[in-house]
Structure formats: structure tokens, C-alpha cells
């Protein structure tokens, strides 16, 4: 099973955390600190798996953001790696060319989408369409107007670039 999901930026800023196994508050901070040290320092062209305290962390970098999922040592690593990509593709569809800023300003939506993909640390839905349908159903009350703050921030940082095209 997936014990936790962490999204963390290249600068070590946490963008999303989701814990499926019970971790106390202190443990959570320790885990994030240790994993940042372990993963952010890894160079390119290495494998997407890191062994950590008897677990494995499967991670993938998209532009400036690292998506990390911690699994048991005998879980199927590639399967989880593609769960990450599945998640990113759904984010991409939802936001329309997702970038890190979308996830910063709309972190709550990222949580909501993640809940439609994983429950109990297991994959809940592998159809992007099915997930999109559920989210769309909830969205009817309001329309996803592009927030001017997000747009401004994107322009300022020049980081309008799409994450998925920068998968590493």
C-alpha cells in the first residue's frame, strides 16, 4: 500500500501531503525533512526509487515539483510510478496545462482530486474520464474562473510552463 504521498518543490517547500498510515505530527515533519534531503539531492538519470528505512519511496520530478509516494519494499514500484503519472495527467486535464502555481493556489482542489484517485493508500480509479466526471459533477455550482492572482503570479515568475511536458 501507499503509506503517504508528498508533493515537494525543488526548494523543499511542501505543496501537498497525504498520510494513509498513522504518523504523529512530529514524525510527519521528520519524514518530510529526511525525504527532502534524500530525494532533492538526487541527480538526473537515476532511477525513480529510493530505499528509505525499510520502505521504498517512488518519486518523479515534473518541472520544479517532486511527486513522492512511499510504499512497502515488495510492492510493485513501476505500478506506483504510473499512479503518480496518472495523478499528474488528471491534474493537467483539470487545470489545463497544470503548473506548480496552480497547485499552490488551488491546493484544496489537488486534495480533492487525490481523494478520487487514492483511498486507503490504494488506487481507486484508473480511468481519467471517470475521475473527471466526478469532479465535473461537483463543479457545476461554480465555474472554474481563472483566478487573476494565479494568472498574475504565473506571469511574474514566468512559470507558465506546463509541468507534464517537463517530466523528468
Amino acid at each position: 500500500m501507499i503509506h503517504f504521498v508528498i508533493l515537494i518543490s525543488r526548494q523543499g517547500k511542501v505543496r501537498l501531503t497525504k498520510w494513509y498510515s498513522p504518523y504523529q505530527q512530529k514524525e510527519r515533519s521528520t519524514v518530510i525533512r529526511e525525504l527532502s534531503g534524500l530525494i532533492l539531492t538526487r541527480g538526473p538519470k537515476l532511477c525513480n526509487f529510493v530505499e528509505w528505512k525499510g520502505y521504498k519511496v517512488v518519486y518523479r520530478r515534473y518541472a520544479s515539483l517532486y511527486f513522492c509516494m512511499c510504499i512497502d519494499p515488495d510492492d510493485n514500484e513501476l505500478e506506483v510510478l504510473e499512479i503518480i503519472h496518472h495523478f499528474v495527467e488528471i491534474l493537467d486535464r483539470y487545470f489545463g496545462s497544470v503548473c506548480e502555481l496552480d497547485l499552490i493556489f488551488n491546493f484544496h482542489k489537488a486534495y480533492y482530486i487525490l481523494d478520487e484517485i487514492l483511498i486507503a493508500g490504494e488506487l481507486q480509479e484508473s480511468s481519467k474520464k471517470a475521475v473527471a466526471r466526478v469532479i465535473a459533477a461537483q463543479k457545476t455550482s461554480t465555474n472554474l474562473a481563472k483566478d487573476s492572482l494565479v494568472e498574475n503570479a504565473k506571469e511574474e515568475t514566468g512559470s507558465i510552463s506546463n509541468m507534464i511536458s517537463q517530466a523528468i
Binding site: 517547500k13 511542501v14 505543496r15 501537498l16 501531503t17 497525504k18 498520510w19 498513522p22 504518523y23 505530527q25 515533519s29 541527480g43 537515476l46 532511477c47 525513480n48 526509487f49 529510493v50 530505499e51 512497502d72 515488495d74 510493485n76 514500484e77 513501476l78 505500478e79 510510478l81 504510473e82 499512479i83 503519472h85 496518472h86 499552490i104 493556489f105 488551488n106 491546493f107 484544496h108 482542489k109 486534495y111 480533492y112 481523494d115 483511498i119 486507503a120 490504494e122 488506487l123 481507486q124 480509479e125 484508473s126 480511468s127 481519467k128 474520464k129 471517470a130 461537483q138 463543479k139 455550482s141 461554480t142 472554474l144 474562473a145 483566478d147 492572482l149 494565479v150 503570479a153 517530466a167
Partner: protein, 1026 residues
């Protein structure tokens, strides 16, 4: 969507982002937290929208790493909000901030339950998601039935059902009782017919969890899994949205194959054939493609298929395909595939006889040891460790030593330990072993645990031919400028014992040896000083005729340390000083250390324990426990002895050396071949091994196998009290096992048989017995009064085990039939022998397996009790209060109802006791007994004579004294009542057999004036450790 358009939140995020530094950020966050606090305090003026906004802000602040505990109540309270937008925020934020052990969650159990049973689908989804993510035991107990209903409901939409499946999985993980096995096997089978692939994916995850702990109940699901796999592999009836880069749901394929790995075999030939066709298609049809995602997904499926093939021990042909594929993978550039190739090759070593093929890839694997990626290096290290044997040990260990120079700190300790273990297990000759360990200490002293150097000292002490060599090596190392402290210890120790053997060599006079050791004295730690003082005393002893100058030097050191701050050092200094003035007596007191009794290496033991510790219930781990693993450590394969030139044996006088002669006799033919090449004839005197009755071993505490016989060397055997005392205290150290003379069998089990048996009484698969040559594993299934055990006999050696004989001695209440056991078990092979059991009536007598085999010339015979125990014929049953009480009343008084007060009970908390009962197949039934300190359990017993018979159990505990309790047992059969009572008693009352601690540190020691404190004396420490 309801979540968007919160301008205040965006502004806040924007502000935080604009902060120039951490301090500014903290100020901005503190301001916001203050604001949120005040707003929450005057809740009246808070609109639902505002409340929602503040809770989101809190989550954001929490992600930044600040403490938001004060707001937990607010988040949780939103769950009870009537409207969807607030409720949603409440559920999501709560499940992010809290974990299952949080008290606040209790407050909302009712609300959550109402949402789950209510008609509002969106509320159902929110509640199921939160419970699935952070639900704990309490949720498990109160919500499981409702969640089950949703999962099997025909009126629920897939959206809800898939969430219910995973929610139930969570609840099951927290409390396995929530899924009642009886009803579920059929239900599961129906659920696997699901057409909606989203639901099926979730259901399959649930199924994997269920089947992992109870295979028997789900045999009927096996064909369904194969069907699903066929459907996906053939891409039949798979909607486009469920294909991922052209691959029909890779996740579902992987999960299904994972589930199949829990079934021991597939007997039905049609199902088997169908499955193998699919597997074959996957193995052959997966190509490397350019698209990363497609490639990953395809290989995720491929690696799972490989694991399944390995598990099924498919035909040789398929296995060799797998090896070929893995060989290809470990050479590719793509790092993920290479990593997984190495990992799976290591797994393959555990399950199959492919070592020789894997060895062909040795060079490639060594290349990976130098890969820039530490993940890959670790895998390579593991694989090299696993594939090492006598033929390649030298190469591999030398690679590891070389790698030690450049290895990351994170890996050095593991690397050092592995190198040391391999050197010990597979050394072609002992001097090489000494070289390796000394190099290890030299290169990575900080990472060499004490066990490692204790072990080399033990080897040197027990092998006289090695002593001058080791002493000379130690002398060489001492000349190096910056020496690791461990090296100082081991060198000083070796030179103290054996430097007199070098006396004629240049630079090795006692005076010179003393001088070079003494250089280190000012800089070493106390524990090393203790060793140096002993060394000086020994140098002094060997210095005959005495050199007054040296004597004076050493004496002055002793005198100096008489007032040293550490008591141990003081005492040594005082004693050595006065002893060394006694002249001849010194020779007796400080004579060479006697040889150590042969024991299992502490290192190997450590490695084994580590394996056992991490062993959980997972398909691969169960496999690796059953299978003889050559990655696991095997004690006897110390060809150090096996290939030692025979002439060396002539010098050996010690009784403990018989063991080595024995092991040599058992050395594999390959090793004998090597000896022959050396030109000496292998004249091993076969030990006439009487067929040992290990039953005594089974029943008695392992640690005390007869009195330790002081094996005092001849020159030491005099009446001198001091010397005798020292020798005894060495020999009778903690854990001192009997010397070989006392042991009728040269082959000793390397597992605690009693413990293993005990464990198997509570679970259905595991290792029953293991010695250096064979491992006997058991896997059992029980259905009513029938049982089917499979004995797995695994030959751990590279030569066959012959004259294998297995005889079952059943007690009168069991009918047992063992299928044919082959007479020969080929090298590194495993044979499976089914054993059918029928239970006639209740009894606690145990069946015995009388097992023997011959290895080279040694006949080994063991008698092992089999875990066919009373509780295996129980099936837990939940009885309602309405059913319970009439039964309970109708069974009045003895002999159908028995009561007993037990004292000296292992102090267990009620949940622990409940767990114990569950593992005994007794269903603990809450809510019948009003007293919370009591426990009521029910079960059905099956035997031929009684058929199904209900048993009722009540335990009354005394919370103020957990060591006593009263049990009452009732059933319709007097024998059953009695036997069940005794059975429970056995498990509740601590039986000294298991808990017998190793005899405490020999009581002789404190009286001994020579070894005042065992802990600092390397000899005593060694005796204790090895």
C-alpha cells in the same frame, strides 16, 4: 466547484509567497493565525463561507510546517455541517490534519455513520473517503457492517461501491474481525464478477488483503482471478478509458497477479494452463518502447508476471525465460529497469535453483556496484551477497572490500557486515579470512561491529596453524601510522596471545612487540587500555628468561594504572602486577586462551534474526521463509574448515575440533574436489553418528544441554586454583552450549524447534525445523475435521541428501496419511509432501514426524512434533446473546462445563488476550458479558466423532492482578471441554520451556580473582557472544 473563488485564501497565499525570508513568512502566518483564532472564538458572527475559508487557510499553514492544533475542533465540526460545501471541507481537512488515533474523531463517528447510511450519495462518498483514509479501530467496529452493505448493494452506483471497497479494506486492516470469513468467500467470488473496472480495481485490492491472511477461504476465487487476467491480457471487453497507453488497466493486472501469488499452487489443470498462457504472453510480448509511461506500465505488469512465475515454480522452460529476461534487464541503460532487474534476480535466488545461471552475470552485477545511483548500488550489493558461494567468494569479497573505499557512509556498515559474513561463510582458506577481516577493520573500522573482530579472534584461537600468521599480520598493521582503535584492540589481543610464536622473526622480540603496542597506549580509550594491560601481562609471561628492563617498563605501567579512574583498569593493573611477581604461577594464570566451543556465529545469527524480524505476511516473504535461501545464512557452510588441508587436522587436539572434522566430512563434494587438487588425500574419519533423539531437545530448554565441560588445554591442567577458575569461567560463560563431546548428533538445528512449533500452533505456515543441510517448512489448510499439510523439504546444500525417510507417528485421535517421500532430495531442491489429517476426537496429543537423512556419511535423525493441535479444528463462530445464554445454561456443571482458577498467568491485556484467542480460532464475542474485564468467546470444534460442536468460553480477569483469572468452558462433549480448557491453559500460563532465559552470567566469575569483571575481558566477552 464549491471550492474555488475564495479570494481571501488566494490573497493570503500570495502574501506568503511574497515574503522575502522565513522570518517575514512567520510574521505573516502568525498574524493570520491570530486572526483565525479570534474569528473562531466569536463563532456567532462567522458565516459558513468564512468558516470554510479559515479552515482551508489552516490547512495551508499546516503544510508550511506550522502548528494548527487549536483549529482541529473547527475542522472536525464542519463534518456535521448540513450543506455539502462545508461538509466537504470538514471531511478533507480533517483527514489531512488528524490521524486515526486522534480523540476528536470519536466525536464524529455518529455523523459519519449517518452520512454513510443516508441516501445522499455525495455525503456517502465524503464519509467513505475519510474513513478509508484515517479510520481506526473504533470506526472499524462501528461502521464495518454499513460499509459492507454499500459494497454489495445493487442499488449503489459504482462511484460509491468502489469507495466502500477500499474503505472496508482500511477497516479490515485495522481489525480483521470485521470481515467474517464464512460469509465472505462467496461474496468475494461474486464481487470478482464485477464488470465495472473501477469497482473491480478497488475490490481486487480488498481481495489481496483478505487472501493474504486466509488462503483457504478463497480458493473459489482463484479461477475468477485467472479469468480477469485473461480478459485484460486479451483486451476483451475493456473500455477505452481503462486502457493506459494502450495497455488494459496495468494496475488491475498487477493486483490480480499479486493476489494469485498467495495461493500455494494451482491444481486445476485448465486454470493452470490458462494462466500460463497469459503469463507466457506477457513474458514474450513485452518490448522496450520509447514512451516512458507505456514502458513503465508494461514493465510493471511484466515484473509482476515474473514474480508469479517464480512463485508457481513453473516449468523449467519458463523459469529460464525469466532468468534470461532478468539477465537482459540488469544490463540495460534505463535505471528503473536495471534496478528492478537486480532486485528480482535477488528474489529469484530465494525461490529457485538458478544460481549457476545468475553467476554468469557476475561481472555485470559488479559493474552496477559502481553505479552512480545508490539505489542501484544497494540492489547490486544485495544480489552479490545472495549469489556468493565458495566458487566466487574471493572475487566478490574483494570487490566489496575495494568498494568500501569509495562507498557512501550510509552503506558502509551494511557492506562491512556483509563482507565479514561472506568471508566467514565461504572462505577458501582461513588465512584469507583473517586477511579480509583485518582489511575490513583497517578500511572501515568505524563500521566494523565488535562481533566481527570477536569472531576472527575465535577462529584464530581455535586454529593453531593460523596463529603465527595472524600474529604476523597484526604486527604488520601496527606499523601503519593512523590506526583504527578496533585494529589496536585486535592486534594487541592477537600479539598478546601469539607473539611468542614469532619471537625469532626480526622485529618481533617481546621488547619490540611491547614497544610498538605501547606507542598506542596514550591515545586509546579505556576499553582498549584493558586489553593492552592483558597483552602486557602475557608478553611478560612469555618473556623467558625475563628481561629486567622490559619487566621494569611493564611494571611501571601497571603501577601507573593502579590509580586509574576506571575500576576495571585499576583492578587489572593491581592483579597483573602482583601476579607477575609470582613467577611460575603467572604462566598458569595467563596461559593461552583455551579453545572456544563451536557455536553459531553471532554475525550469522544477527543476519538471520534480521531476516526474521522483517518477515511479514506477504507473498514473497512467505515464500522466502519456506524456501531454502542461499541468501540466508547457513552456519555449517564454513568451507573454511572444509577445504583446509587435511594435514592441519593432525595438529588439532581439542575436543571441539571434532566438530570441524565433522563439518569437513560433510563438506560438499565440490569442496572435497578442491582438497584433492591440493594433493592431499581427504582422510576424513566419518563420525559414527548415532541417530540422535532430538525429542529431549524439543522438550527441554535449548540453552542447557548438559553441563559444560571445561576443556582445559593439557598444559593448563594442573591443580592451580586460579587457572582452573579461569578456565571454568571462560567455558561456563553465558549461553555456553555443551561441547561437542556431549552431543550425540554432529548436526544441530539452527532454529529453536520449540519456538517454531509454538509459532506454528498459531499460524499455518512457516519453518518447522532447520539445520545446516535441510529446512522443513509447513503449510497447512484446515476444513472442518480435515486437514491438509504440506511438508516442504528443502535441501540447502550443493550435493544431494540421500536415504531420506519420513515416518508419521500419529496419536490415537488422528488419522494421518503421508504421501510418498522421495529417497533423495537433489541439491538445492525442494520437495513437497502432502499429509492428510482427519481428526477423530478431541485430544491434545501431538503427532511426531520421525525424520532422517544421510548427508555424505552422517546420518541425521530428528523427531519433530507436528503442529496438528486441537485449535486447528476450531472454526470461530459469532454467537448472539440470544443464542448464547440458553446454550450456556443448558450445559450446567461438570463434566460438560468446567471451571478453573488459573494462577501464574502471563500478564496480558484484554486486547492481547483477545488476539491470542483469535489466533486460536476462538471468536471473541463482545457484548455478551456486561463486565468489561471479562471475555467471552465461541468456536465450533470439528471431529469425526463429535461432528460440529459448539464450544463456549468465558474468561473472568482481575484487573488488579493480571496473573490470575478464572476460565469456564462449556461444550456438549466432556472430553472436548476438558481438552479445550487445558489447551487454553497452556497458552495462557507461561510455560517455562519458552521463557527459560539463558543461564545468567556464570556465578563463578565474581569469585574469580583473575577475571574480575567479565564485561571488559575480551575472552569473557567472546565466550558470551559466540
Amino acid at each position: 466547484m464549491a471550492l474555488s473563488g475564495m479570494r481571501g485564501l488566494s490573497v493570503f497565499i500570495s502574501d506568503v509567497r511574497n515574503c522575502q525570508n522565513k522570518e517575514q513568512e512567520r510574521l505573516r502566518v502568525d498574524k493570520e493565525l491570530g486572526n483565525i483564532r479570534t474569528r473562531f472564538k466569536n463563532e456567532k458572527g462567522l458565516s459558513p463561507y468564512e468558516k470554510k475559508k479559515y479552515v482551508w487557510k489552516m490547512l495551508y499553514i499546516y503544510m508550511l510546517g506550522y502548528d494548527v492544533d487549536f483549529g482541529h475542533t473547527e475542522a472536525v465540526s464542519l463534518i456535521s455541517a448540513p450543506k455539502y460545501p462545508e461538509k466537504q471541507v470538514g471531511y478533507i481537512v480533517t483527514s489531512c490534519l488528524l490521524n486515526e488515533s486522534h480523540d476528536f474523531l470519536r466525536m464524529v463517528i455518529n455523523t459519519v455513520r449517518n452520512d454513510i447510511v443516508g441516501r445522499n450519495e455525495t455525503f456517502q462518498c465524503l464519509a467513505l473517503t475519510m474513513v478509508g483514509n484515517i479510520g481506526g479501530k473504533e470506526f472499524s467496529e462501528s461502521l464495518a457492517p454499513d460499509v459492507q452493505k454499500l459494497l454489495i448493494s445493487s442499488s449503489c452506483r459504482p462511484l460509491v461501491r468502489k469507495k466502500a471497497a477500499l474503505c472496508l479494506l482500511r477497516l479490515y486492516r485495522k481489525n480483521s474481525d470485521v470481515v467474517n470469513v464464512d460469509g465472505w468467500s462467496d461474496r468475494m467470488s461474486q464481487l470478482l464478477d464485477e464488470r465495472d473496472l473501477g469497482v473491480l480495481t478497488s475490490v481486487m485490492s480488498l481481495f489481496v488483503a483478505l487472501v493474504s491472511s486466509n488462503i483457504e477461504a478463497y480458493w473459489n476465487c482463484l479461477p475468477k482471478c485467472v479469468k480477469i487476467l485473461e480478459r485484460l491480457a486479451r483486451n476483451q471487453d475493456v473500455p477505452q478509458e481503462y486502457t493506459y497507453y494502450g495497455i488494459p488497466s496495468p494496475w488491475l493486472q498487477v493486483k490480480t497477479m499479486r493476489a494469485l501469488q498467495y495461493f500455494p499452487t494451482i491444481e486445476d489443470p485448465n486454470t493452470r494452463r490458462a494462466l500460463f498462457e497469459v503469463l507466457q504472453r506477457i513474458l514474450m510480448g513485452t518490448d522496450v518502447v520509447k514512451n516512458v509511461n507505456k514502458n513503465n506500465a508494461a514493465h510493471a505488469v511484466l515484473f509482476e508476471a515474473l514474480a508469479l512465475v517464480m512463485h508457481l515454480d513453473a516449468e523449467k522452460e519458463m523459469m529460464s525465460q525469466c532468468v534470461a529476461l532478468l539477465g537482459k534487464f540488469i544490463a540495460v541503460r534505463e535505471p528503473n529497469i536495471r534496478y528492478l532487474g537486480l532486485e528480482n534476480m535477488t528474489r529469484m535466488l530465494l525461490v529457485s535453483d538458478v544460481q549457476d545461471i545468475i553467476k554468469r552475470h557476475q561481472a555485470q552485477i559488479i559493474t552496477s556496484l559502481k553505479d552512480p545511483d545508490i539505489s542501484i548500488r544497494r540492489r547490486a550489493l544485495d544480489l552479490l551477497y545472495g549469489m556468493c558461494d565458495v566458487t566466487n567468494a574471493k572475487d566478490i569479497v574483494e570487490e566489496l572490500l575495494q568498494y568500501l573505499n569509495t562507498a557512501d557512509f550510509a552503506m558502509r556498515e551494511e557492506l562491512a557486515l556483509k563482507a565479514a559474513i561472506l568471508a566467514e561463510k565461504f572462505a577458501p582458506d582461513l588465512s584469507w579470512y583473517v586477511d579480509v577481516i583485518l582489511q575490513l577493520i583497517d578500511k572501515a573500522g568505524d563500521f566494523v561491529s565488535d562481533d566481527i573482530w570477536y569472531r576472527v579472534v575465535q577462529f584464530v584461537t581455535n586454529n593453531e596453524d593460523l596463529q603465527p600468521y595472524a600474529a604476523a599480520k597484526a604486527r604488520e598493521y601496527l606499523e601503519k601510522p593512523a590506526l583504527h582503535e578496533t585494529m589496536v584492540k585486535v592486534s594487541a589481543y592477537l600479539l598478546g596471545e601469539y607473539s611468542h610464536l614469532l619471537a625469532r622473526r626480526p622485529g618481533c622480540s617481546p621488547k619490540e612487540i611491547f614497544a610498538i603496542i605501547n606507542e598506542k597506549l596514550p591515545t586509546v580509550a579505556t576499553s582498549t587500555v584493558a586489553i593492552l594491560l592483558s597483552t602486557y601481562a602475557k608478553i611478560l609471561m612469555h618473556n623467558l628468561p625475563p628481561d629486567p628492563e622490559l619487566q621494569e617498563q611493564i611494571w611501571s605501567i601497571f603501577r601507573k594504572y593502579e590509580s586509574y579512574i576506571d575500576v576495571e583498569i585499576q583492578q587489572r593493573a593491581v592483579e597483573y602486577f602482583s601476579l607477575s611477581r609470582k613467577g611460575a604461577a603467572l604462566v598458569d594464570v595467563l596461559a593461552e586462551m583455551p579453545k572456544f566451543p563451536e557455536r553459531q556465529s553471532a554475525l550469522l545469527k544477527k543476519a538471520e534474526d534480521a531476516e526474521v524480524d522483517t518477515a511479514e505476511q506477504s507473498a514473497i516473504k512467505i515464500r522466502s521463509q519456506q524456501q531454502t535461501s542461499n541468501a540466508l545464512v547457513v552456519t555449517d557452510q564454513r568451507p573454511a574448515n572444509g577445504s583446509m588441508p587435511v594435514s592441519q587436522l593432525g595438529l588439532v587436539r581439542m575436543p571441539s575440533q571434532n566438530m570441524e572434522a565433522g563439518t569437513q566430512g560433510q563438506a560438499s563434494s565440490r569442496e572435497q574436489g578442491m582438497t584433492d587438487e591440493n594433493g592431499s588425500i581427504n582422510k576424513v574419519v566419518p563420525q559414527d553418528t548415532p541417530s540422535a533423539d532430538l525429542l529431549g531437545d524439543l522438550l527441554g530448554p535449548l540453552a542447557i544441554e548438559g553441563p559444560p565441560v571445561p576443556t582445559v588445554p593439557v598444559e593448563q591442567k594442573d591443580k592451580n586454583l586460579l587457572s582452573a577458575l579461569e578456565a571454568t569461567s571462560e567455558e561456563a560463560g553465558p549461553l555456553a552450549l555443551a561441547t561437542v563431546d556431549d552431543q550425540p548428533n554432529s548436526v544441530q538445528p539452527i532454529v529453536n524447534i520449540a519456538e517454531r512449533l509454538n509459532a506454528l500452533c498459531l499460524k499455518d505456515s512457516g519453518v518447522l525445523y532447520e539445520d545446516p543441510h535441510i529446512q522443513i517448512g509447513i503449510k497447512a489448510e484446515w476444513r472442518a475435521h480435515h486437514g491438509r499439510l504440506v511438508l516442504f523439504l528443502g535441501n540447502k546444500n550443493t550435493s544431494p541428501l540421500v536415504s531420506v525417510r519420513a515416518l508419521i507417528l500419529p496419536p490415537t485421535h488422528l488419522k494421518m496419511e503421508l504421501s510418498m517421500v522421495p529417497e533423495t532430495i537433489p541439491p538445492r531442491a525442494q520437495v513437497q509432501c502432502p499429509l492428510e489429517v482427519v481428526n477423530i476426537r478431541a485430544s491434545r496429543d501431538l503427532a511426531v514426524l520421525d525424520f532422517s537423512y544421510k548427508f555424505v556419511t552422517a546420518v541425521v535423525n530428528v523427531k519433530l512434533r507436528l503442529p496438528v493441535v486441537l485449535n486447528k479444528f476450531f472454526q470461530p463462530i459469532l454467537v448472539s446473546a440470544e443464542e448464547f445464554f440458553p446454550q450456556w445454561k443448558s450445559l450446567s456443571g461438570p463434566p460438560l462445563k468446567l471451571q478453573e482458577v488459573l494462577r501464574g498467568v502471563k500478564p496480558l491485556s484484554l486486547p492481547e488476550m483477545a488476539n491470542l484467542f483469535t489466533s486460536l480460532h476462538l471468536a471473541v464475542t463482545p457484548g455478551i458479558d456486561a463486565n468489561p474485564n471479562n471475555l467471552v468467546a465461541c468456536t465450533t470444534f470439528y471431529s469425526e466423532s463429535t461432528r460440529a460442536m459448539l464450544c463456549l468460553i468465558r474468561v473472568e480477569t482481575d484487573p488488579s492482578d493480571r496473573t490470575q483469572l478464572r476460565i469456564t468452558i462449556a461444550s456438549g462433549d466432556p472430553t472436548l471441554t476438558f481438552e479445550l480448557k487445558e489447551c487454553i491453559k497452556e497458552h495462557l500460563v507461561s510455560i517455562p520451556m519458552q521463557t527459560a532465559p539463558p543461564p545468567a552470567v556464570s556465578p563463578v566469575q565474581p569469585q574469580s580473582p583473575v577475571t574480575p569483571a567479565a564485561y571488559n575481558d575480551p575472552g569473557a566477552m567472546l565466550a558470551g557472544l559466540l
